[in-house]
Amino acid sequence: MTIADLWDQRIPAFLLSPSQFLATTTSESFLAELLHELRNDKANDQVKILLVSVLLEHPTILCPCTSVGEETALELLSVFSHMPQKSISLKCNVMLAITNVIICTSCLATHTKMAEDWLDLLFQTIQDTNDYRCGLSQQPLRATACDCLREMETCSPGLLSQKLEALYLLKQQETTVLHQSYCMLYTLGLKNAIRILTNQKDVTDLEFKSILGGNEGFAWKSNQLGLTFLPINMMVQVPRLPPGLDCKELKSVMSSLLEESYLLTPTSQSALLRELVEVVAMVPGLSPTLFKSQLLRLFGTAEVELMHATLFMKETFTDSLFTAEDENFLLKRLVSTAQHPLLRIPEKLFYMDCILHFPENRPISSSGEESLPVLVTPRLAASLLPTVFNDSATMLCRLNLLCLVYLEADEGGEDKGIDYLFNHIMALLKIVDSDGSREVVVTSFRAVYIFLMHFSGMEELSEKLIDRLCDMYSRQCRLAPNLIGLVDRIQECLDDYVWSVKLLRGLQKCIMEMPPLQLTIHNLSWHLKVLKRVAKEGQITQRNTIYLLLNVLINSNLCERGKWQVGNAVLAVCRNLLEHPSIDQVFIELADLLQYISVHYDDTDIKDHARFYYSLLTNLSWEKLTGVLAKGPDVGRAKERSHSATMAESEGIASNLTLRKTERHVLRLVKVQEKSLQSSSESSESLEATEETKKWLEVYQEQFQVPGFGSEVTLRYNLTHANEADTLFNRVFTICLHFELKDLNYAKVSDIHVPCVFRDRKPPEVNVKLRPFQPYPTTLCVSAIFTTQDGRSWHSRLPDVSVSFPEIFLPLPLPLNTSRACKEEVFDRIWEAAASGSPDKSAISLFCFETGDESLADLIKTHFQGYLITDEESKRSWKVLFFLPPMCHVLLMITQAEDAVQVSIATDNWELLPFVNSYLQNITDHSSTTGRDG
């Protein structure tokens, strides 16, 4: 595999999931690799563009802070300046990457030197308009530079506010296609400069004029607005300059921008128009009629962004630019474009949205809610009537709009319109009835929902609808969940329960009247779902439901077949029946039913449940019964809940089997400070000390023949309460800790059970055993299931536990009584092997740092104590060995030279080197370090 191929795999892997990718390496080392490869003269531009894309898309992941951002930008800048002139595309990409890094790591906001230099360079680039020197091929660079500056101005408004004269001249001189870039840059600068001026209390004519004439440096100080300022349509009060300023010059600038807007692409034109609208809105001396000449062209446009900009103009200027006639006309255009056969569906949906948020000159309300403009009459909207041939989004959107139209319409023609909509709903249901696909079913129910949201008050229609739905259900009982969903949503959104109760009653009746042949096991499960929902409604009598259940059980072989699911579904209905307020009227029948099940049903669990319900029913008053059955946290006694739990709500999930979720961290794992230096391997029997020394390595290696030898790292933690102070969790029991790995470098970690954690007692210790496949740092997601004192079960996440690189270190896995000489022998042999390149992945490396005598000894003591093979303090030389499961070694030979400490590194897995390096860098952080050599 060539280097390029390798990058072709790595970069997409990173882009797909940076977090997974960085589980096997560090962002520093990845960044270093990227920058290194970017400097590689042999790599082609295509590969380099790919490399840059990482910084282009995820600068903050690779440069987590301003200082790293600044360094990276500097590196990129030096790459940029050494690139050959013909690498245009690559240069543009690097330009964008630098801009991204500078903005996103706050180099721009904090006004770093790098940001300043970069701005200067960009400005020089756009000023260097002499294309003929290097040919037209350099044009993309200037275009990109303009766009970078525009983005910087957006993120730091006002930055260019003192350079407007220069920018204006550049814009005027430019006659190539780049004219657009300069024009957009200038306009943004102009708008921001005026916006900043509106913050000032008194504005003199001179100050106002000086905006246009500015030709100074970048205005770093002006950035008091921050980048969060909103477009003016979002402001309660439009910021305005005082009236009476001399606007002649500005006016002519604006006119020329508008005249030339025709030269821009529609996308940029719409952006330009929006900027100019904001300018006019802020400057009282400018009249909105400036835009008059553009209106006709905009009214006729086929481009969605231009139409949208026109509506923005309408919203901002209302009748100072749009007469009543214009308004009427614009609205008609909107309605006709919302159904134009040549436009695309998303655009048409958007236009319909625009109709419902049409900026009227005289709005009746301005709540931001959907509302119908007064001018949209049934006649006007007739072309938007929904049809069964529409795609589902269009159909629903039209239906919603037309519902509003007929809701608002005056008496008279309105009923006909509602009839049309109703017939449309019926036509949809007919399609559902003839085995419409799932999409059709879902869309039709959404349509029914929309219709009811507007017209549930129209009794005749809503009753017809109920008849139709019930009729349909009798043939298509797979619609049960859709119907139940509809009932629930309608009850949630309309305070009116009448309709939904009627529907449920109808469904109940429909099930009762079904010929027994239709009550197959498959259909029955749907019916039971419906009946369960019906049983929740206090207003519906339940006698028939009970008769039906009893009938079915007696007259079929259900009891003999004894399927648990069916039994459970029947009991779920019974459970809701037990809570029904008019239980008294059907007391005997329900008791019969329960007793029948408890005797005849051929499943012990179902029998038991039924018997339990039976005893509850026959022994408790209704009030107590509902108290027992009630769910929710307000019932505090655990015993009762556990009873109701065994009685199974549905599909075996009962209230105390229900796992409650808490978003808060209840528990956490805290590392036990002193590190376990024991390899957990149990097979390390004592080795014969009399063996000959030269065989020590073989002896050492033989140990690994025993499966599982030295493969585990044990990390010790205390399980304690998180800072959360909820007394509910003061005592938690039967905790099961579950671990999820964020990467594939470790074997699955088995669950850990802890009897209890009390806030006022010493926290229990848990040992987490990790079996690495690759000994890389990792993060464990930990969750816990536990029970509180009141008997409820909880699920809660613990804060993630990160396992750092040194935590995976183990000492050389040799028996405790092994002599120092033996260990050294093994060390030397491994070192020799690694140095001679065996195994393949071996590598040696060097790390240097400066430190004083004292601190070196301290350093060794704190960090390497347990891993020391030899300690020749007098010779100022140490040998250190880290064993990393499953079988990796990192060997350090530390010697103190005159001016620095040298750490020679040998390992049998070069992929560990970046981690070793950052580990060493980390522990020697206070000393100044010099680089390493491969």
Partner: protein, 492 residues
């Protein structure tokens, strides 16, 4: 006016769903973060994006009849923007994600919300939304081309070209232009001559060589015919004018004039290309949603413009013509296990009897496969596709002299294998769908006269004009059955 991220996802049948292309714009994200403050929701990693999109599009768990998160009737999918539930149900959502789907491709982008995030602002108040829509439309054309379904290798090469394309049209998340449609051959151009005249941003250079102006007028006619007095037949016409102008100069002036015959019904809902320099107000006033009393402006329609280099749609319109070009009647009678069938098609006298092709397709749904077919036609040939339960009546280039053709006979559905199904066409609900093209004709009568095309340039250009009428969604429903409730243009 920026977008935070962009995705192209494919979900081919039998393959796992894949992110084929994605692009994030970190500086926009940086702004999004500070605009939204504590309500900021970050964009999830690409690894999880496809699943989130599919859930909103109702494409997950195809084997389950009902899934709450997917099928809830209160989740209304009637906007071009959806919200992605990044933390699962009830959690935080990423909004507004604009989605365009074509075949197995899903294009999505996330526009920046430059507004206080709570309460959720209306979509039309966000400038970035229309820009995002335009960008997605452009991308759709770029990736899929005019055919709509590119071959896998063609699609792959177009996807590979996206990074360099975005470098031009949307380098930092702020759309500057829309991508060019696929297959638009780069025109051989010379660089702009320089000088005082500014080069438009939508025109990369100038044309050199022979001057040719082609104007193609294409009209489509739709119809729903029911053959019942209780239900009104419907038809409408829409047309577009496609232009390709190879004319010298930075901003050459061209004028195309559309004319209608005397008493022709006016062109409605005219939409024009942005290169049109000026418009007469009267051209725009006629609107299909208005009552048209005959006093409306009926031409000539003048469109002065300065053309771009590539082929473009100069304008489009709709029209309400008094009669449909082909009036049909379709009658089915069910008798035991066969259907008696009777079709009459009449060509209106105003329509030129000279087709490039004309076919009537008669599909039969929700029945067993056809057995014997005893059907006679008075003109043209009949092709029977028994395995598809489809009759194709090829009328060819001409109707008979009397401008009327009939089809009569019986079809036995004696097979034992079930044929194709359709929820709309149950019982006697059935339709004929017509496919035809008439060259050199428009139904509205609209035409572009060669001599009316004016080009203000030194070299006299060759001018080519064409026109055509093509059927689209042309249905004739069986009058003895229930047609599904018809389209909205009914008299209210």
């Amino acid at each position: 006016m920026s977008i935070r991220a962009l995705w192209v996802v494919s979900h081919e049948k039998g393959e796992s769903v894949k992110v084929r292309f994605s692009r994030r714009f970190p500086t926009v994200e940086f702004r999004a973060k500070s605009l939204a403050g504590v309500q900021y929701v970050s964009v999830p990693e690409d690894r999880v994006i496809p699943q989130l999109l599919l859930t909103e599009l109702g494409l997950v768990d195809a084997d389950k009849p009902y899934v709450d998160a997917r099928d809830d009737c209160a989740r209304q999918h009637r906007s071009p923007a959806v919200e992605l539930r990044v933390d699962g149900s009830g959690g935080r959502t990423l909004w507004p994600v604009l989605i365009v789907t074509q075949g197995a491709l899903i294009l999505a982008c996330l526009p920046l919300v430059e507004a206080p995030p709570e309460p959720r602002p209306p979509l039309p108040s966000l400038a970035s939304v229309s820009q995002g829509l335009a960008l997605l439309s452009g991308l759709q054309d770029f990736l899929c081309g005019p055919g709509g379904k590119p071959e896998p290798d063609v699609l792959a090469s177009r996807l590979a070209a996206l990074p360099s394309l975005l470098l031009q049209v949307c380098p930092l998340g702020r759309p500057l232009d829309t991508p060019p449609p696929a297959g638009s051959v780069p025109v051989a151009v010379s660089p702009s001559p320089g000088g005082a005249q500014k080069q438009p941003a939508w025109k990369a250079g100038v044309h050199r060589g022979r001057a040719v102006v082609s104007v193609a007028l294409s009209e489509k006619v739709r119809s729903m015919q029911y053959g019942k007095s209780s239900r009104q037949d419907l038809w409408d016409v829409y047309g577009m004018v496609m232009c390709k102008c190879e004319v010298e100069g930075v901003l050459p002036n061209v004028t195309v004039t559309l004319t209608l015959p005397p008493n022709g019904s006016p062109l409605l809902d005219i939409l024009v290309h942005p290169c049109v320099t000026s418009l007469d107000a009267s051209i725009l006033t006629a609107c299909s949603v208005d009552e048209n009393d005959g006093s409306a402006f009926s031409g000539p329609y003048k469109f002065p413009f300065s053309p771009p280099l590539e082929l473009f749609r100069l304008c489009s319109y709709t029209s309400q013509v008094p009669v449909p070009p082909i009036l049909g009647s379709y009658q089915l009678k069910a008798e035991e296990n066969h259907l008696k069938i009777n079709v009459v098609l009449k060509l209106h006298e105003s329509v030129k009897n000279s087709f490039e092709y004309c076919e009537a397709h008669l599909p039969f749904f929700n029945k067993n496969l056809m057995g014997s077919v005893e059907v006679k036609v008075s003109s043209g040939q009949l092709e029977v596709s028994k395995e598809k339960n489809l009759l194709v009546w090829v009328l060819g280039q001409k109707f008979p002299k009397a401008r009327e053709a009939t089809l009569e006979g019986t079809i036995h559905f004696s097979g034992t294998v079930a044929g194709p199904t359709d929820p709309l066409c149950t019982g006697l609900s059935a339709y004929i769908k017509l496919y035809f093209r008439v060259p050199d004709l428009t139904l509205s009568g609209c035409c572009v006269d060669q001599h009316s095309v004016q080009v203000y340039s030194s070299a006299k250009p060759r001018i080519v004009t064409t026109r055509e009428l093509v059927s689209s969604e042309y249905y004739i429903w069986n009058s003895t059955g229930d047609a599904p409730v018809s389209s909205g243009l009914t008299a209210l």
